[in-house]
Amino acid sequence: MSFDLAAIRAQFPILTRRIGNAPLHYLDNAATAQVPQFVLDAVSRFETTSRANVLRGVHRLAEEATAAYAAARQAVGRYLNVPAGEVVFTGGTTGAINLVARSYGELLSPGDEIVVSELEHHSNIVPWQMLRDRRGIVLKVLPVYDDGTLNLEDLGRLVTRRCRLIAVTHASNVTGAVTELAPIRAAASAVGAKILLDGAQRAPHGPIDLPSLGVDFYAFSGHKTFAPHGIGALWARRDLLEAMPPFMGGGEMIRTVTMERTDYAPPPHKFEAGTPPIAQAIGLGAAVDWLMRLDWAAISGHELRLTQRVLDGLPRKVRVVGPASLQRRLPVISFDVAGIHPHDICQLLDGDGVALRGGHHCAQPLMDRLNLAGTARASLALYNGDDDVDALIAGLDRAIHRLGRS
């Protein structure tokens, strides 16, 4: 296999769009990635030929919808190298983590401890604070180094015998740093704690071999993985899913309901109350099936080469907020431009067709730790090319010339 950038780009109709007079240079993939035509086609085909509810009807459309929904779950299972029966469809990463906090959280007792990190997106902080306030558990915080990588030196002290869960990101949405898992696994296994990985940023960059990661929960989002909004997945081992109480009650998650009691369906359906986002799940299945067919050694090389070009090409007044090297790093590059607010940088580059994200990136504790109001962030995907990097660097030069203060 090899990697043909033009062929990849041709799959994404939005990449031909122009912003004013400039071509679109979409570098906000860490927020939401674009959707290829065949994913849109899969969604459209379902909606126009097989639209029906799942796991309920016996008519032809219902059978087709149920089969397509199950096939999507199988595809996600293949992408994560786990049994499909351990994949719970959710609204996204936030929904998946909240499910764990609500459901696994019910199994915890006052005084039990959960370790999170300063590197986390709010979606891997706030649900645990809510659980702390609801159940009386104790939250402990892993610090970060100045380069936005996790400081694991105090792991042994922070992870005590009362620790029940370590909830950390697989890769930071701000700094691009990929978490070093071996020390976390060792600390967790020493005390019998579970590990939850927020995979929202890592999932778009190739299939994941979850058994080799040695974690207990994994969450990711479809909309960052070239699939529609409103769909994501939680993976957990079957024994954990069976022990966890349901998160929401309603249709589809039951086996038998009387006016006195309810017997629940087995996992994963136990956690999918109500009509699920069927078309979105089918879109996610199509996206990850496609990703599995690609040459990820070549794509990773391409993404890292572009990352290095960004790091090398940033103007002198720009400070990278993240690892300086490519080791354990995603193509997510945050930066601070002396004297210019990230929103102004992003607004000016929008005029050049360059789509960046500016602000705190839903990571205010990290910004406080790094003493920043926010950063500008360029986040790349497999369809980005040298033209996008050139436009970013030229746009930054112009923005600094326009607004920079000596």
Binding site: H341, H343, L348, D350, G351, M367, A373, R398, L403, R405
Partner: protein, 142 residues
């Protein structure tokens, strides 16, 4: 170059009129924009029910800095009611695009922001902070 960064706005921000902090203020208030992390801190000293002196510290974008600078240039001598009217005038101006008699001098420079709904809060945050600060100061008075 986008139309948003007109020379008048850039000049307003760079002027940074009354940027800094006041010693022994009668009131201070810090407010954040939860969407982007912008932070505005205002200090006021009162002269009766009017603003006698004011200073601002902004950790925010150029629009937020320009807005705070415009407050620094115009707020002295204003009452809580004046400030509330000015805030409403800015809000209506950004939403409707129609000239508003309640606008303080220089604020018509923000006309290009009308087309960028996500940036309205950048301009409004200093005004919201001042309105709340003056409302609190008024409540404290006997």
């Amino acid at each position: 170059m986008t139309d948003l960064y007109q020379d008048a706005i850039v000049a307003q921000a760079k002027a940074a009129t009354r940027a800094g902090r006041l010693d022994h203020p009668d009131g201070s208030l810090t407010r954040d924009n939860p969407l982007c992390g912008d932070r505005v801190t205002l200090d006021i000293r009162l002269d009766g029910d009017r603003i006698g002196d004011i200073a601002h510290r902004v950790r925010g974008c150029l629009l937020c800095e320009a807005s705070a600078s415009a407050i620094g240039a115009n707020a002295i001598g204003k009452t809580a009611a004046d400030v509330a009217a000015a805030e409403k005038g800015v809000r209506d101006f950004l939403e409707s695009g129609r000239p508003d008699p309640r606008l303080w001098p220089g604020l018509d420079a923000f006309a290009p922001v009308r087309d960028y709904a996500s940036r309205h809060t950048c301009v409004l945050l200093p005004f919201e902070t001042l309105r709340e600060l003056m409302a609190r100061a008024s409540e404290k008075k006997p």
